[in-house]
Symmetry: C2
Subunit: 203 residues, 2 copies
């Protein structure tokens, strides 16, 4: 029965190893979570296990926008109240949720599934760009809002799409980049500060 | 099919809510974890679900030390190479693992299951103190090392145990409290600095 490392091992080690693979969790935080579950109500662990085991069955990709959904088309694409002439193009499915939570945008979405990143081997062919062009042509979109992160990859992808869409009758815009609301000039990095000057708005 | 909030909802919402109950995870980090799982290999989610569903069946409390274990007694209590005259008293089962990872201690453990905290309604009667006294009397322990966090509750519990054990033939010690190795005087709080003076060690 004796374990040379003197640990209780087995199930605890396996679950800690699995949990520490999740983003933002190291070995210590995975351990804290595991002991929290162990000391808690067993029904919580059962419920979590059940939801996890059914997750990939329950969730698919929307055949129109490419975001995760339980119904196809997704509730947003199926919603007749949304403005179909306005498409917000995002990198990942979770960006749809982040933007929806802000309750600012009333158009529809298109998930690219990544950003152009030559160093990581991600070229335009790996992204859902053909589908985007089809949607623009078919649905007659009036404006595309590119809502990528203000990073090198985001800028590259935005530039690429802008050139590609030049000949189509569609306006292309990007989310404003500048100082975050409630932020402090002192803590803004130089690039952000420089952008907030270049894109300053008139009163 | 349309959802008034415009979200994909359902399974995603339920799992995000469950994950955000875990210690150290808020709504945002739970969301990041969920999308990581969704975009990853479904077999990972299945494996995680399986380990979670079996966790409480696989793990019980050791009838001797009170820590979590798959076998009873636990591998540490069952290990004939460990020094039974030296008992390290800890607050929680996870403390056993933290101390084992340091590979410094070769005695056995006793998990109190908490610390005395009158404001939270935790009196000595809620802790495994009777079991500790029994073990000291029965196994003839030579020394108890109280390895509680250096907090008010840890200090209170240590003082209480020290008084209780005064009449038994057992030495009681506490883990040293002072500057962390690699730390900087400048960043030490006043209490830690004051303790490191009081408990200074001679060359």
């Amino acid at each position: 029965m004796s374990d040379p490392s003197g640990r209780s091992g087995g199930a605890i080690d396996r679950l800690t190893a699995l949990l520490s693979k999740l983003p933002g969790l190291g070995k210590k935080s995975a351990g804290r979570i595991l002991y929290h579950i162990l000391e808690g109500d067993p029904s919580y662990a059962q419920l979590l296990a059940q939801e996890l085991s059914l997750l990939h069955q329950a969730i698919r990709r929307c055949s129109l926008c490419g975001s995760f959904t339980e119904t196809d088309p997704c509730p947003i694409c199926a919603d007749s109240d949304r403005d179909r002439s306005l498409i917000c193009v995002v990198e990942r499915p979770q960006d749809v949720r982040i933007i929806e939570d802000a309750r600012e945008f009333r158009g529809i979405f298109h998930v690219l599934g990544g950003l152009i990143a030559p160093l990581d081997g991600v070229g335009p062919d790996k992204l859902r760009i053909g589908e985007l062009l089809n949607r623009v042509r078919r649905d007659g979109a009036r404006e595309l809002i590119l809502a990528f992160n203000p990073t090198i990859e985001g800028d590259t992808t935005a530039l690429y799409l802008q050139k590609l869409l030049k000949d189509l009758d569609v306006e292309v815009s990007r989310l404003a980049s500048g100082l975050p609301v409630g932020g402090d000039l002192e803590y803004a990095d130089k690039l952000t500060l420089s952008r907030s000057f270049r894109h300053r708005t008139k009163f």
